[in-house]
Each structure stands twice: as structure tokens, then as C-alpha cells.
């Protein structure tokens, strides 16, 4: 078997809508698992931030969903999928500062409109598939190949 064909799901968990009390647990767990795999610290930093934003997005904006992380020898893929409502204007959603977060979420310090921008900033490749009324699947890919440092 070729090295690159090895693929391992290291995280697969449900994320409930509106449950801020556990927000961040999945990304913390993923972070410690990546340490166990010996992933470089600065790569972990990028993945942890992107994953946390994905996790919080599910909590704030969706009817619930799941978070999954896959490791191959060349990259980490974090996939967030939810049960809706879908993103109506994807272009707008990527604009810094744009947010559809509720007043409640904003009062808690969330919904600054940086979520998708941050995920894009910290991942090497970002794929979004969304359908209003159905749901969204966001895939953030972070390379493990040593090619230049992060854009921080």
C-alpha cells in the first residue's frame, strides 16, 4: 500500500446547535490527538483555530451537525457538515465582519463575522458546499508537507 493511501479518521463527533457550554471541546480534543501524532506545533495552531471556528459555526448558525477530522501522511482534513439552513450568500459570508449571528450569540462575544475568513486564513484549501434548506459542508485542508510557514 502506498503511504499516501493511508487515511485515518481521528475525530468524528456530533455538535449540537446552540450548546455553547461544550463549544471548543471537539477542537481541544483534536489538538491533543494531533500532538500525539507528532504534528508540528505551528500546523497544530492553524488546525486548532480553523476547527474551533468550524465548531462554533455549527453551534451558532446551524440546526446542528458534526465535525470530522481525517489524517493522511500529507494532510489533515477537517470536515464540518450541518443539517441546515445553508448559506444564502456565500460571497458575503466570506467578507470580514459580515455575520448573521443572533443577538444572543453576539452578546456572548461570538458572531464577529470573522469565522469563515479565519478558517480560510488558517487552512491551505477550503471547500464549501451549501444548499439553502439542506445544509452546508465545509472542508478545510491543511497540508503536512513542509512548504513555507504559516501566513501569520
Amino acid at each position: 500500500m502506498q503511504k499516501d493511501e493511508i487515511k485515518q479518521v481521528i475525530l468524528d463527533c456530533e455538535v449540537e446547535a446552540g450548546d455553547f457550554s461544550v463549544g471548543g471541546e471537539a477542537s481541544s480534543k483534536l489538538k491533543s490527538l494531533l500532538h500525539k501524532l507528532g504534528i508540528p506545533a505551528q500546523t497544530i495552531r492553524k488546525i486548532a483555530i480553523a476547527t474551533y471556528e468550524l465548531e462554533i459555526n455549527i453551534i451558532i448558525h446551524t440546526y446542528g451537525g458534526s465535525l470530522k477530522a481525517e489524517v493522511t501522511p500529507s494532510e489533515i482534513r477537517v470536515i464540518a457538515s450541518d443539517k441546515g439552513p445553508g448559506i444564502a450568500d456565500l460571497e458575503k459570508a466570506f467578507q470580514p465582519g459580515y455575520s448573521t449571528a443572533s443577538q444572543k450569540a453576539r452578546e456572548m462575544g461570538f458572531g464577529a463575522g470573522m469565522g469563515l475568513c479565519n478558517i480560510k486564513r488558517y487552512s491551505d484549501e477550503l471547500n464549501v458546499e451549501t444548499e439553502v434548506g439542506k445544509g452546508t459542508e465545509i472542508e478545510a485542508r491543511i497540508s503536512l508537507r513542509e512548504s513555507g510557514d504559516s501566513n501569520e
Partner: protein, 439 residues
């Protein structure tokens, strides 16, 4: 003194309970055959195990007063928290005179370095627009090196006040007296093992400017005896008490001095970890400075101190009330920049090779599924996850878990009962009945 760590164990006192195991922030301790064992590569010398051991089996290595004789110019460095060990009638000048009486050639206040560092830090944050984590607590720095290497870039690129003052004192004595390096002995009076360890293992530097460290509880008795003989209103000519720097001794003191900067103060190693987890989730851009100390409620809570941490904090608060200004000093006389950046000390990975680590991770997750998840620590590891990791690394076995062991014994007993009733085919059935009668 041990060259690697200053937290050590007295085997005859250890009862094999798991208090320290459960309190260790880095999961560095296991109990094996009735004895706690510290895994050196995981230990950050924070002293949590000393604090949590009811049997006083853990202790901190220390130099002592007899070591003063080895130097022509023994110098004492007094940390801010030391002043919390005395009530109001014993002022810092009195403490200094008593230290001189013990045999120190000069006494230097670490608080002066703290005041200087505060000013430089403030400027640095303004000029660089960066969020910093204080690098003054060696326990916190080692924690980040070990468990949060992704956050190393946040650590302030400055020496700790202790090192800053140690260097300054050494240079001063060399210049003023023409003393040679080996004639000068810089003794730090340390409130904690974390700082003790920096004498031999400095952080971000090749070599420490300290020569020795004496634990507060080792020097306290000698000092108190001498303080009692001193005049009540003694003063030292030309000595400005660095009240502001002394406020570093209690939680928030360091951050409060950074006027105009948004700060968060965290005391206690487990609290520090909870905030580092938050930082891991993204930039907390609205916070510019994190004061983080391993002990609660600040350095007054160091395990070598003799006074209750909260009463010591009260003493510090009373003392610093008298402060009006920072002590005027020439900041150019200090060399605050670290030579090296803080290095990752990662030991968390299961294997250096990613493919092997991935296979081990699968095994680890399976092992965790098997264990009961009660985190009782009866196996000698702090929790089931850690036991699982020890098992897959060949350092423990599944039957170290008493619940699994019991289950296996029960299974075995069932099997034996079944076997006992399975008669050899040559025997007659009625023999079994007569056996039963005998019971």
C-alpha cells in the same frame, strides 16, 4: 542539588497514595509498587506534588547557608514574595539587614528588576502590537514548552526579573570591586522549586546568572532570629524600597503595573492551562498581556514559603500601599533580552514517524474503549487515558486496572466452575450426584 529537577521524592515517606499523581498538571507521576515515580522528561518543577502530598514525601532540593563560605562575595537576591512572609513591623530594610547579618555581602531586590521589566514590556507591546504571555514564571514557561508548544511565540522575549537582577548584581560587583566571576556567588532566595531549577537549567539562556538557590523555608528561621535583635525603625541610607515591584508577589500585581494595556491575570497552574486552551482556539486579540503564574494567589503561594499564601498576600498588599512611584533607575544598566527563543520540549507524540503514530493512535483509542473510564487512579496512572497510553507504550498492562482484573478473575472463576463440573467421559453420571450430597 539534582541537575535536572529540584522536585524530589523521599521513598521512605511515600505511602503510594495517588494524590500527587492526580494533581500533576503534566501527568508526570505514576505510582508503582507502592512508590510514586516522577518521569523526569515530563516534570516542570511546578511543585503541585509537594503541595498535594499529605505525607511530605515530596520535597524541593535546596542549597543552604553553609554554601555562603564558598564565595568571597555571596550575594542574596530577595524575591518580592519574600516580604509577604513578614508582618508590618518587619519592613524590607529590616529583612535586608538581617540577611547581611547572616553573612551576605550584598542584598539585591528582585523587585527592582520587576519594575524595570514592566517598563520595557509596556513599550514593547505598544511598539509591536503583539499579545504576550509573561515569561517570568518558569513553571508556566516549561508547561508551554511541553504541552502548548504552538503558543511558544506568545512568550515575552525577556529574561525573568530574577535573572535580570542577578546579571546586574554580578556586573556591578565585578566593576566596582574588580572581583572575579568565581569569587561572586549569587544566591536566590526562592519561593518555589520552579525557580530553583533555573539555576542549573535556565530558560532561553545558555547559562543562568545565579549560582545557588536557597529555599525560603531553609533560611527563614535564621532570619527571624536575627530580625528580632534589630532596632524597630531601622533604615538603610539611600535604599528606596521598590514597592511597585514588590506587588508582583501577589496575583495581578504584575499586570496592574502595565497601565494602559489590556491584561488578564491567571494564577494556579490548572487555571493557567484552562486559559491556554482558550488561546489555542484562536487569538484573543483584545487582550494584550497575560500574567500567568503557577502558584495561587501568585508567587506568595510558592511551596517553599512558610506563611499561608493568602495571609502573605495580605502582608504584601499592606506593604505596597506605601508605594508612590517606581524607583528611579537607569534601564540601560539592565540586559533584558533573551539570548535564545524558548524551545519546544514536546514529548507528547506517540512516535516520531507519523504512520507509526497513526497506528498507535488507533490502538490507543481501542484501549481507552476497553478501560472503564472511571479515572480512579488505583492503577497508579492519573486517569484511564494515561493508563491506556502507558499500555500501548509497553509501560503498563491492562490488568493494572482493578476493574479489569476483577472481571478477569470472575471470568476465570466461571470457567473453573464449568470445568469442575465437566466430568471425564469414563466416569459415571451418578458419581456426580453422590459428590453433591457430600457438599
Amino acid at each position: 542539588m539534582s541537575n535536572i529537577h529540584s522536585v524530589l521524592l523521599k521513598p521512605d515517606k511515600c505511602k503510594g497514595c495517588t494524590n500527587c499523581v492526580k494533581n500533576c498538571p503534566t501527568n508526570a507521576i505514576r505510582v508503582h509498587q507502592g512508590q510514586a515515580k516522577i518521569k523526569e522528561e515530563y516534570c516542570i518543577d511546578c511543585g503541585e506534588c509537594i503541595r498535594s502530598c499529605e505525607y511530605h514525601a515530596k520535597y524541593g532540593a535546596t542549597d543552604d547557608l553553609a554554601d555562603l563560605k564558598e564565595y568571597k562575595y555571596p550575594v542574596a537576591l530577595v524575591p518580592p514574595s519574600f516580604y509577604g512572609q513578614f508582618t508590618q513591623d518587619i519592613n524590607p530594610a529590616k529583612v535586608m539587614l538581617a540577611l547581611k547579618d547572616i553573612g551576605f555581602f550584598q542584598i539585591w531586590d528582585v523587585a527592582l528588576g520587576a519594575e524595570a521589566l514592566t517598563q520595557v514590556t509596556k513599550e514593547y507591546i505598544r511598539d509591536n502590537d503583539r499579545t504576550l504571555i509573561s515569561s517570568s514564571c518558569p513553571g508556566v514557561v516549561r508547561l508551554i514548552q511541553l504541552l502548548y508548544p504552538e503558543l511558544l511565540g506568545y512568550l515575552a522575549p525577556f529574561k525573568s526579573p530574577v535573572e535580570i537582577v542577578a546579571q546586574r548584581a554580578r556586573e556591578f560587583i565585578k566593576a566596582e570591586l574588580g572581583a572575579k566571576d568565581e569569587e561572586i556567588g549569587i544566591f536566590f532566595i526562592t519561593p518555589c522549586p520552579a525557580k530553583m531549577t533555573t539555576v542549573n537549567n535556565p530558560l532561553g539562556m545558555e547559562e543562568s546568572y545565579l549560582d545557588r538557590a536557597i529555599a525560603v523555608d531553609t533560611i527563614y528561621h535564621e532570619l527571624i532570629k536575627r530580625v528580632d535583635n534589630l532596632d524597630d525603625c531601622c533604615k538603610i541610607e539611600g535604599y528606596d524600597i521598590p514597592y511597585f515591584g514588590i506587588s508582583w508577589a501577589s496575583g495581578g500585581g504584575e499586570a496592574d503595573l502595565l497601565e494602559g494595556i489590556s491584561t488578564v491575570s491567571v494564577a494556579g497552574i490548572h487555571n493557567v492551562m484552562s486559559v491556554l486552551e482558550e488561546l489555542d482556539r484562536g487569538d484573543l486579540a483584545h487582550i494584550q498581556y497575560f500574567e500567568m503564574v503557577a502558584c495561587q494567589p501568585g508567587c506568595v503561594g510558592g511551596v517553599f514559603n512558610v506563611k499561608n499564601p493568602f495571609l502573605a498576600e495580605f502582608n504584601i498588599h499592606n506593604l505596597v500601599k506605601k508605594g508612590i512611584n517606581l524607583v528611579e533607575q537607569d534601564l540601560n544598566k539592565y540586559d533584558m533580552n533573551l539570548q535564545n527563543s524558548f524551545k519546544e520540549k514536546s514529548i507528547a507524540s506517540l512516535d516520531d514517524d507519523l504512520i507509526v503514530a497513526m497506528a498507535k493512535l488507533t490502538k490507543l483509542e481501542k484501549e481507552i474503549e476497553i478501560l472503564p473510564g472511571l479515572d480512579c487512579a488505583a492503577c497508579g496512572a492519573p486517569d484511564c487515558r494515561t493508563l491506556a497510553e502507558d499500555i500501548i507504550n509497553g509501560l503498563a498492562s491492562r490488568t493494572d486496572c482493578i476493574f479489569i482484573l476483577r472481571q478477569q478473575v470472575a471470568d476465570l472463576a466461571d470457567e473453573m466452575a464449568t470445568l469442575a463440573h465437566a466430568l471425564p467421559p469414563v466416569m459415571k453420571r451418578n458419581k456426580e450426584e453422590s459428590d453433591d450430597d457430600e457438599d
